[in-house]
């Protein structure tokens, strides 16, 4: 008993001693990272709020105008187009980039290793290519005069429509190119999820006489649902951000704003109309939107996902 008490006493003394002597080592190791993150991630966020509240001229913030920049952006027809297009980009991405890869992954999963690896390698290639390269290759293929598709259908007497300069089709081209780049990677993510599903479950269901479709619907999809949700979230984030490059390379937001999105508009406010206040206000509005998406993700996670 006394021994225990003594032990407790000494540890307590040691602890206080350790507490008194502040250990600087973690601070030294953390300093570079913390300074950089503070300076280039968190400080800019605060700075955005500040910039968005001012009328700016060439020398910097001029006078406080409160919410005028926000109201101006929200009232701006370009912003409406961009917001609408962003929703189209997101919603059309779900079937092509999130759902379509599921059956493809299941097919690869049921194949032998040799063929499976060939498909995996082929589908993975676009992940390594830059979006600039991918955009250039597609511009070339779609070119109505000397593009690849034209050289295939030209001899048949057909004419390739100018898809990228048509208001009705340009955005779908960009969505398609984005899908071309991302599908393979999402398939690989699904394969990683599938590899965690035990063979015993499948066999047990087989013994009960379940067919392919039942196994897929009742077993594989539910067990895969955490992966599906993860892929959905990362695809949405990818789509909102990364689509900037094909927009800038292929259409510059045109024709008639039909392909612009929110990130691209915020960029244009800054570097084409030189309106710093609008750009800052627009960025904060996107931040709000992303916050909502992340909140929705948290809520959905609780409700929808079956954890094995």
């Amino acid at each position: 008993m006394t021994q225990t008490l003594e032990l407790v006493a000494t540890t307590r003394i040691e602890r206080t001693a350790a507490r008194r002597k502040i250990d600087l080592r973690p601070a030294v190791f953390l300093a570079p990272f913390v300074v950089l993150v503070a300076l280039f991630t968190y400080w800019p966020l605060i700075q955005l709020v500040y910039l968005s509240l001012f009328k700016l001229n060439r020398s910097g913030p001029d006078r406080f105008i409160g919410a005028d920049n926000f109201l101006g952006v929200l009232d701006n027809a370009q912003f409406h187009d961009a917001a609408y297009n962003s929703l189209i980009y997101i919603f059309l991405s779900i079937p092509f980039k999130v759902f379509l890869p599921i059956p493809l992954a299941v097919f690869i999963w049921t194949m032998g290793a040799k063929l499976g690896n060939f498909y995996k390698a082929a589908l993975f290639l676009p992940t390594l290519l830059s979006f600039v390269v991918v955009s250039i290759v597609w511009i070339w293929m779609l070119n109505p005069v000397m593009g690849l598709f034209q050289s295939v259908i030209g001899p048949l007497g057909l004419q390739m429509p100018s898809l990228l300069s048509d208001v009705a089709s340009a955005i779908y081209v960009i969505i398609g190119v984005g899908a071309w780049k991302l599908i393979g990677f999402n398939i690989l993510l699904y394969l990683a999820g599938l590899s965690a599903i035990s063979r015993d479950y499948v066999e047990a269901m087989r013994l009960d006489g379940a067919g392919d479709w039942v196994v897929l619907r009742r077993l594989i999809v539910p067990l895969l649902s955490p992966t599906i949700l993860f892929v959905a979230i990362s695809t949405v984030v990818f789509t909102i951000q990364q689509v900037f490059t094909p927009i800038d390379v292929m259409t510059q937001g045109g024709p008639l704003n039909s392909t612009t999105n929110l990130f691209y508009l915020v960029y244009q406010y800054m570097f084409e109309s030189f309106n710093v206040g609008y750009s800052a206000a627009g960025a904060l509005l996107i931040f709000l939107l992303l916050g909502l998406i992340i909140a929705a993700k948290m809520i959905w996670f609780e409700k929808l996902v079956h954890y094995s």
Binding site: D23, P26, F29, L30, P32, F33, L36, V37, F40, T41, P44, Q47, L48, L51, P103, L104, V106, F107, T110, N117, F118, Y119, A121, A122, L123, F124, L125, T127, L128, L129, S130, F131, V132, V133, I136, V137, W140, M141, L148, S151, W180, L188, L189, A192, R199, V215, F230, I240, Q241, F244, T245, D248, F263, Y267, M270, A280, A283, F287, L290, I294
Partner: protein
């Protein structure tokens, strides 16, 4: 590859093969055509054949002749190397501090790391751009590198691996009189070689392929990277000079593809695991 765990019926399997084959071809065929076109002489470019009848390297000479492509390559290579090196070092230090020490505010700081992962750089580009201008770093290597040196995802991944380390390992080394840097270098680093290698590949490809930030922060050959350079070339020619354009496309895609073909399976594994943890 996991062994086949589900036997699909024959017709369904056939459908699967057809869909996969079409998808794979839609990816491989354009890439082969790009490669083929880059070796074609000018008079064959718009001909129907996918492969050159008369093989030539002229397009590759032209790329370096018509634009300062060597300079772009050098800018990309140097800034990517410096940036990835810096990212790894800074992330390793931070992850080590998080994993090894108990200090007040650790939880809060780590929450800030996780939070930073969710803030896309395209959101904060404006204040950073203004700051870089004030520092006089517009159109310089420093402007390309410094704002991107802190990589929260890398800290997150490395910390996870370091947490799996037994604390005794550190303590034993410390007792032998090794200082902290020594412990990092000769105890920690050899044990996390695989994850460091994986991170290096992912960060390198990520940085080499980056478009947005170089577009914002570079203007002349002084700092312009290959991705921006090839985009300018596209604008200048608008497809009139397809051979050199395709040669340039091939050249800038080559580093990542070469690494991929050298160690295929690990690369796929690497991207998937980093993607899942990110």
């Amino acid at each position: 590859m996991a062994p086949s765990m589900l036997k699909l019926s024959r017709p369904l399997m056939l459908v699967g093969h057809i869909i996969l084959l079409v998808t794979a071809l839609s990816i491989i065929a354009p890439l082969i055509l790009v490669l083929g076109t880059s070796f074609k002489p000018a008079n064959e470019i718009y001909g129907g054949l996918p492969w050159p009848r008369k093989f030539t390297l002229q397009n590759y000479y032209d790329v370096f002749e018509k634009l300062p492509f060597g300079r772009y390559l050098w800018n990309s290579l140097a800034t990517t190397t410096l940036r990835v090196g810096g990212q790894l070092l800074i992330a390793l230090f931070a992850a080590y501090a998080f994993a090894r020490y108990n200090f007040p505010g650790r939880g809060l700081l780590f929450a800030l790391v996780l939070g930073a992962m969710m803030i896309p750089p395209q959101l904060t580009f404006l204040p950073i751009y203004l700051l870089i201008n004030k520092l006089g770093w517009f159109d310089t290597w420093a402007g390309l590198i410094v704002p991107n040196l802190a990589m929260p995802l890398a800290v997150f991944l490395l910390r996870q691996h370091l947490l799996a380390f037994p604390k005794e390992l550190y303590d034993a080394a410390a007792m032998d009189g090794a200082n902290e840097l020594r412990i990092l270098w000769s105890v920690v680093l050899p044990n996390i070689k695989p994850v460091m290698a994986a991170l290096t590949v992912v960060l390198f490809v990520d940085c080499w392929n980056e478009y947005f930030w170089p577009l914002v922060i570079t203007e002349t050959d002084h700092a312009m990277t290959v991705q921006i350079g090839i985009r300018r070339f596209l604008d200048a020619e608008r497809g009139d000079d397809l051979g050199p354009l395709m040669a340039a496309v091939t050249l800038i895609s080559l580093p990542a593809l070469a690494v991929f073909f050298a160690c295929q399976r690990q690369i796929i594994q690497t991207f998937v695991s980093v993607g899942i943890k990110g």
